[in-house]
Symmetry: C2
Subunit: 251 residues, 2 copies
């Protein structure tokens, strides 16, 4: 087994040497009742800005567990700047998509409503909790933002300068994604349509944007959530800078 504590928690508070912090009820319950940790047990913490910290439980209260910060174990590092725009799917497939996109480094998850989108109701609080858990388990140092759903047209009308939008065109008119990614460094966003695909009008509008490019994922038809995971995995293989690794990731 690894020497490092295997429990990592995201917290929404500053992390620095000597700090003591009291966990909220949910996380306290998890550490004390579920994981059965007691005073002195080590826990890793991150908050998206201060790196990763080793902390120790100093009061194992199941409603308000207290941690004392010991030392920084990893500095905050640059993470990929990649947004994922996706049409909400059925509940379990959306959960899956959010979990996998988080593991694969998405910085922001934006549910978009297109013509053929099946679901417009979305519990973004729950999705954020799913993303947080995935970030904790994947050793990320941040949790992706999870936006409220918006119509595709609204998102495109207020698109930020300098960010490339790569949309996966199921009709096969785009270049292979790996090739597109080689030409599009910097801030990125992927847009993946719903199970029913984009309409001809939507594809037409997407093709006319100055910041967009069509890409293709290969010869078979992929489910929408598979396309999301595939795009994120291919991006990671092409683009991520690779920090030095140690043997302690897992054993």
């Amino acid at each position: 087994m690894a020497d490092q504590p295997s429990i990592r928690l995201y917290v929404d508070e500053p992390l620095q040497a000597g700090t003591t912090l009291q966990l909220a009820k949910g996380q306290s319950h998890y550490l004390v009742n579920v994981m059965r940790l007691n005073t002195g047990a080590p826990v890793l913490l991150f908050n998206g800005t201060d790196g990763e910290w080793l902390a120790e439980i100093t009061a194992a209260d199941k409603k308000a567990c207290v941690l004392s910060l010991l030392e920084q174990t990893r500095p905050q590092c640059d993470e990929p700047d990649v947004w994922l725009l996706f049409a909400p799917l059925k509940k379990d497939r959306t959960d899956f998509l959010v979990e996998k996109a988080t593991e694969l480094g998405a910085s922001r998850l934006l549910p978009v409503i297109t013509r053929h989108t099946q679901t417009t109701r979305l519990n973004t609080e729950r999705l954020y909790a799913t993303a947080t858990e995935a970030a904790e388990q994947s050793r990320r140092l941040s949790v992706p933002d999870v936006d409220a759903p918006l119509p595709l047209g609204d998102i495109l009308r207020t698109w930020p300068a300098g960010r490339h939008l790569i949309y996966l065109d199921e009709t096969g008119r785009g270049q292979p994604l790996a090739q597109v990614l080689a030409d599009e460094p910097g801030a990125l966003a992927f847009l993946i349509g719903p199970e029913g695909g984009f309409t001809a009008d939507e594809l037409d509008a997407l093709g006319k944007l100055t910041f967009s490019v069509a890409a293709d994922l290969g010869p078979r038809i992929l489910r929408a959530e598979t396309a999301c995971v595939a795009a994120m995995a291919i991006r990671q293989s092409v683009a991520d800078s690779r920090p030095p690794k140690t043997q302690d990731r897992r054993n």
Copy 2:
């Protein structure tokens, strides 16, 4: 909507012009009771060897629906020769893995038992049904084989000549997968370990094989099923030859 019939079924019978075939009870029930199809409705069929055929329902019996073959819509084509060796996970994550690996072109799925594998019981019949459904929906012309679980050592001892084994080494000692794939054309197999990772002994043994190479999936820790999907997606982006596409894939 597409002009093509949207229902595709895998059948285990020869497909040729003029053939009439009677579907089994499950598929008959699906067409007649679930999809509410009637006599004259078009259905696409494939069997893994004879390409894809357009058929028409000639008797809509909910227990033994009869189809008449009209014409071949796609010839059988070469599909990727890629095996996926994976340690069985919890039920829903294994289902997910099988579905996604099928969409992404796996030709054979081999559950392997390693030291840290959590589950050795596996309903391979059910997994084959999941793979069949995924193949039907992804427009594949074949269904991957699904093997019974075997200990990793047994599989490695009887490894076929000429097939490269790429194992995903979570300790980060491999080269990035995209780079490994560029050097390893031909018959491939991926091996992805369980949630607990490979043991030092297992990694040692894998490193000594003449047919194996270690690969790495990037800076974050991926769940086992995410690693499977990522590896398959990256392979597809690097290796698949791209058949010409038409606009009728979906609209």
